[in-house]
């Protein structure tokens, strides 16, 4: 029984090897390592999807965690592939040295390992440590370009997330206080499965208080408004493959923690956690929508789009019917497949034009046909047009809201989604036309195009024909999750 350890050891080994090898080899190590992680996690995840929980030592993997592990694996692999070309170009332009590139790959692998660690731990206390580790490790990636703006973003990222997560720890403390009361100091009072079974006998007052701290604390890291302020800064200043990782994988870590506590809270004090989730979700959606309309920087706009999608997901889980939760789970997958696609396409634009300002980018269709195609498709996908998978996620959550009789939630969500649609398409498509200023060369390369094509295929595939097996798995997770609610 070494299944879980292997998943974690692969990226660690890749990080160690990268530290002692030249930057080209380090890049290859990241790719091979990420692919190996994905393959290594399959047996555990498939077991978990069949309904069997893998739990031994300090590890605990069930269906929900497996879903997140696979998503992290896929996003990691895609980012590793894209990183190669992106950093090579940076190196050619003298923005970074080859030593920096090597350091990048070391930290990249550590980052993947720390995120995977979040999903496989049994104790919620240890999970907290892992989440804090993700912040600490990724800080080096956010501040990778040592420009003043990147440093500012890193500082804000570290400070705001650390404060948030400290508040989250206070919440966990309160949960522990009530559980150790019930269990009279027995060991394992912080273990997720023990907490879940004892949830009915936990003190509701204490748990409610704890959940407030937890949603504020981890919500900071998940990017819920009004604790989101670090997010656009960090996303816009980090190297593009890292922006994609932050958006499509890191936010999921905090989401995962919130979900675990939501289940416990719903058993102990029904309705409380769900209402908070819907409230924060709607607020995030509204604010993100407004900021997308006025965004000038393409990566900031994509960051706000992440906030928007996290809001939609929170609403889905907040509604809490099996249909809505199914939609939210699907939406997590859809968002994590689509967002990196848009980020990668945007990365090409940024490197080609040398700016992140959307006003200065014109004539994309002529100068970069391939990127333009990908950016266009990605935009349509992320704003939720059929046949892309984000559409299925959004429509299912809306259906769930209507089904549960929450018409006002459904209506507000729909309005904000349309708002985002308008802002997004206007900003992106105006970049495609017009005359480019000066010479622009499209960044080319197999390893740049491959992840985009794969992501596009996956998001279309999931939107058009979802495999029965995937559907069954998501349904069983949704039913299990709502069984708790």
């Amino acid at each position: 029984m070494m299944d879980v350890e292997i998943i974690l050891l692969i990226p660690l080994a890749a990080a160690l090897l990268s530290a002692v090898s030249p930057s080209r080899v380090a890049a290859a190590l990241s790719m091979v390592g990420s692919a190996a992680v994905l393959i290594a996690s399959l047996p555990v995840c498939i077991t978990a999807f069949d309904g069997a929980v893998t739990a031994y030592g300090i590890w605990y993997v069930d269906g929900l965690s497996s879903l997140f592990i696979l998503i992290t694996g896929i996003v990691g692999l895609m980012s590793a592939l894209y990183s190669y070309g992106y950093l090579k170009r940076d190196e050619e332009e003298g923005e970074v040295g080859s030593k920096d590139v090597r350091q990048y790959h070391v930290v990249f692998n550590l980052f993947v390992a720390s995120m995977l660690l979040v999903f496989v731990l049994k104790s919620v206390g240890a999970m907290w440590i892992a989440i804090e580790l993700t912040t600490l490790v990724s800080a080096f990636l956010v501040g990778f370009y040592r420009r003043d703006k990147a440093l500012e973003a890193t500082w804000k990222y570290l400070m705001i997330c650390s404060v948030g997560i400290t508040l989250g720890l206070f919440g966990i403390t309160l949960v522990y206080a009530s559980s150790s009361d019930v269990m009279e100091g027995a060991s394992g009072a912080l273990d997720w499965s023990v907490l879940f079974e004892a949830a009915e006998s936990l003190d509701p007052m204490l748990i409610k208080m704890a959940f407030i701290f937890i949603i504020i604390g981890f919500g900071t890291k998940m990017g819920l408004v009004p604790m989101h302020t670090w997010l656009p800064d960090a996303h816009s200043q980090s190297p593009t493959p890292i922006s994609a990782m932050l958006s499509a994988a890191l936010l999921n870590c905090a989401l995962y923690a919130i979900l675990r506590f939501q289940m416990i809270t719903e058993i102990s004090a029904p309705g409380f956690a769900s209402a908070l989730m819907i409230g924060f979700g709607l607020l995030s959606l509204a604010v993100a929508g407004a900021f997308i309309l006025i965004s000038k920087d393409i990566k900031r706009m994509l960051a706000y789009s992440s906030i928007e999608h996290m809001g939609i997901i929170a609403i889905g889980f907040g509604i809490g019917t099996p249909l809505a939760v199914f939609g939210a789970l699907f939406h997590i997958i859809a968002h994590s497949l689509t967002k990196p696609l848009v980020f990668f396409a945007a990365g090409n634009v940024i490197q080609g034009y040398g700016t992140q300002e959307m006003n200065e980018v014109r004539g994309l269709r002529k100068t970069m046909p391939m990127t333009s195609l990908m950016l266009g498709a990605g935009t349509l996908a992320i704003v939720g047009l059929p046949p892309f998978s984000v559409f299925i996620g959004e429509i299912t959550i809306l259906g769930g809201a209507v089904d549960a009789g929450m018409y006002h939630v459904a209506l507000l969500t729909a309005v904000f989604i349309i708002l985002v649609f308008a802002g997004f398409t206007r900003n992106i498509f105006s970049m495609m036309h017009g005359e480019p200023k000066g010479e622009v060369k499209e960044p080319k390369g197999m390893l740049r195009a491959l992840p985009m094509v794969m992501l596009l295929l996956m998001t279309v595939l999931f939107g058009l024909f979802m495999p029965e097996s995937v559907k069954d798995v998501l349904w069983s997770i949704a039913e299990w999750f709502t069984g708790a609610i």
Binding site: A126, A139, D148, E152, A153, L169, Y176, A177, S236
Partner: protein, 203 residues
């Protein structure tokens, strides 16, 4: 503990602030030993020991070094005067007592009052991060929040499992080192460690 938080809040010099933090940590250590002795939780002895090593000696030392290397002058750069700070702290304490009142009834431990105090320390730490301009005072604020947190952990549950505690300590130490590192980079890039210069990123 609370008094020291207030003292830190009103400190005008960096060294004074760090001393206040170290003494606060010392009190936390003593409290850990007392509670351990009283309840027979031997794990708390270990925890107290680590608190002493990390927070009373280790972190203040690291911070002193960083401050010395930053050459930023001794003032902490508070945007509120001392009376204002005291007033706000007092209000935060009242808020903490009000909020924790319904909880305190349910928790039966030797240190009932501690939950409210721990919340106060957390809030004051947060307040310090907001009002003080120098980057390093933010770090101290964060650490004081953590101190308050540990006070809370001890008061409501006699400490978390040891592995978790150790992990948290490790994380805290890492935060300080990494923040120190970035503070150095920032002071190089901006010629200042005043966080109010970090205003460039906006729409």
């Amino acid at each position: 503990m609370l008094l020291l938080s207030m003292l830190a809040m009103t400190s005008t010099r960096m060294t004074q602030l760090l001393t206040a933090f170290a003494v606060q940590s010392l009190f936390l250590t003593i409290l850990a030993f007392v509670v351990a002795d009283y309840t027979g939780h031997s794990e708390l002895f270990i925890m107290g020991g680590i608190t002493f090593a990390v927070k009373v000696i280790g972190i203040p030392l690291v911070l002193r070094r960083t401050v010395a290397r930053l050459h930023t002058g001794k003032e902490v750069g508070s945007s509120l005067g001392i009376p204002g700070c005291l007033l706000m702290s007092a209000m935060l304490i009242i808020v903490a007592y009000l909020v924790t009142e319904p909880l305190v009834v349910t928790v039966e431990t030797v240190t009932r009052n501690c939950l409210a105090m721990s919340m106060s320390v957390i809030l004051i730490g947060l307040f310090m991060m907001v009002t003080h301009k120098k980057a390093m005072t933010g770090v101290v604020g964060l650490l004081m929040m953590e101190n308050g947190l540990f006070l809370g952990v001890m008061s409501v549950s006699y400490g978390m499992p040891l592995v978790v505690e150790l992990g948290i300590f490790f994380d805290v130490l890492m935060i300080v080192v990494i923040l120190g590192l970035f503070a150095l980079r920032i002071s190089k890039a901006f010629d200042s460690i005043d966080v109010s210069v970090l205003r460039r990123l906006k729409e």
